[in-house]
C-alpha cells in the first residue's frame, strides 16, 4: 500500500525531528494543557486527590483543572475499579470527548482488573477504550502518576497518542487511496 502503519519508538524519534513546525507547536501546546476528566470509581480516587493536591501538584505539568464534563477535557483518567455495569458509561464518556484525547489507566484495577477476578469486574479499562499509559500500583504512589504524566506528555509531543496515531493513519490511508486513483 505504500503506507507505513507501524512505528517504533526509534523511528518516531527520528520522525519527530522531521515534524512540521505547526505540528510540533500544537503538540507542545497540547502536552502542557491537559484537562483531565477524572473517572473516579474507587479507592484510587484518594491517591488522585493527593496527586492533584498541593504537595504533588499535578498542576505543575499543566494538567491544572479536572473538568467534570467530558466535552471540555482531553485526558480521561480512569481511576479505580471498573465494573462491567459501568462499561457503557465509560465508553460513552470516552466517545463524548473531543479529539485528540488521551487515556490514563490509574492503578492496577483500571489497568488489568487487579486482584478482582470475578464476575462483576472488568479486566482493565482497555476492554472498552484504548488506553495510552498504564500506571501500576494499588494504589500507585503519586510519583508514579507524575512519571506516567511525563510519559504521556512525551507521547503527545511525538504524536504517539492513540487518537493522534489514528488521525494520522486515517490521513495516510486517505492519501494512499487518492494516490492509487
Amino acid at each position: 500500500m505504500g503506507v507505513e502503519l507501524t512505528t517504533t519508538r526509534l523511528e518516531d524519534a527520528a520522525k519527530w525531528a522531521k515534524q512540521s513546525l505547526v505540528e510540533r507547536a500544537s503538540n507542545w501546546g497540547r502536552k502542557f494543557s491537559l484537562f483531565s476528566y477524572p473517572f473516579v470509581t474507587a479507592c484510587c480516587g484518594m491517591e488522585f486527590m493527593s496527586v492533584a493536591g498541593p504537595k504533588y501538584d499535578l498542576a505543575r505539568f499543566g494538567a491544572e483543572f479536572p473538568r467534570f464534563s467530558p466535552r471540555q477535557s482531553d485526558l480521561l483518567m480512569v481511576v479505580g475499579t471498573v465494573t462491567e455495569k459501568q462499561g457503557p458509561a465509560l465508553k460513552r464518556v470516552f466517545e463524548q470527548m473531543a479529539e485528540p484525547k488521551w487515556v490514563i489507566a490509574f492503578g492496577v484495577c483500571a489497568s488489568t482488573g487487579g486482584f478482582y477476578q470475578n464476575y462483576s469486574t472488568m479486566p482493565g479499562a482497555d476492554q472498552v477504550i484504548p488506553v495510552d499509559v498504564y500506571i501500576p500500583g494499588c494504589p500507585p504512589r503519586p510519583e508514579q502518576v507524575l512519571d506516567a504524566m511525563i510519559m504521556l506528555m512525551d507521547r503527545i509531543q511525538q504524536g504517539r497518542g492513540h487518537s493522534q496515531l489514528r488521525t494520522k493513519r486515517e490521513e495516510l490511508i486517505a492519501a494512499a487511496a487518492a494516490n492509487d486513483e
Binding site: G87, N118, V128, P130, R169
Partner: protein, 191 residues
C-alpha cells in the same frame, strides 16, 4: 439471654417453629416458610418482644455442605431432604436487648420466600440483594428487581454453582489493536 425469645416463640407459635438452636451465643429459630410473616409480625408488635431493629437478611447456599461433627440428619432426615438455601433474618430488639435469627429453609426447585419488607422497610433493598445474588424470590416484596447486577445478567453470581469468573460483558471494544503486519489491508490500526 434470647433464650427467652425462643421459649416465647415456641409457646406462642409452636406450629410455626421447626427447630431452635443456640450457636455461639446466637439464638436461631427455624421458621416454616408459610408462617414467617406471622412470626415476624408478632415479634415486632408483641410488647415483650419489640423487635424494632432489622439487622440483615442474607442467604446461605448449602449446595455442597457436608458438616463435620454434626450428622446432617440432626436437621433433615436425609440428604435429599436437605434444602439448598437458608434465608436468614437477623433481628434485634433495642428495648429488651434481644437478638434473634430467623432461618427459613428454601428448596432449590421452589426458590421463594415470604418478604418481610412490609414489616421492616429496611429489608427492602436487602431482599433485593438476596434476590440478585442468590435468586430467591421474595413474595410480597414491593419491587423485586436486581439491585447490583444489570438486568442483562443471566444467573445468580453468589450461588455456588455459578463460575465465579464468568463475566457477562455489556460492551467491549470493537476496535482492538490490529497489527497491520499480521492483517494486511486492515482498514484501521489501533485507536
Amino acid at each position: 439471654m434470647a433464650q427467652k425469645v425462643l421459649d416465647a416463640l415456641k409457646a406462642n407459635h409452636a406450629s410455626a417453629i421447626e427447630l431452635t438452636e443456640s450457636l455461639f451465643g446466637d439464638e436461631i429459630a427455624w421458621v416454616k416458610r408459610d408462617s414467617l410473616v406471622a412470626v415476624a409480625t408478632w415479634l415486632r408488635d408483641e410488647p415483650t418482644m419489640q423487635f424494632d431493629s432489622p439487622v440483615f437478611v442474607t442467604v446461605i447456599d448449602r449446595l455442597d455442605w457436608h458438616p463435620t461433627g454434626v450428622p446432617l440428619s440432626a436437621h433433615w432426615s436425609d440428604e435429599s431432604g436437605k434444602p439448598r438455601f437458608e434465608v436468614c433474618y437477623q433481628l434485634r430488639s433495642s428495648t429488651h436487648r434481644y437478638r434473634i435469627r430467623l432461618k427459613v429453609a428454601v428448596p432449590e426447585q421452589d426458590a421463594r420466600c415470604a418478604s418481610l419488607a412490609g414489616i421492616w422497610s429496611a429489608f427492602d433493598w436487602q431482599e433485593r440483594e438476596a434476590f440478585d445474588m442468590y435468586g430467591i424470590t421474595f413474595d410480597g416484596h414491593p419491587d423485586m428487581r436486581r439491585i447490583y447486577m444489570y438486568d442483562e445478567f443471566v444467573g445468580y453470581p453468589l450461588r455456588k454453582d455459578y463460575p465465579k469468573e464468568k463475566r457477562q460483558p455489556l460492551v467491549r471494544r470493537d476496535d482492538l489493536p490490529i497489527n497491520p503486519i499480521k492483517a494486511p489491508g486492515a482498514p484501521h490500526g489501533d485507536r
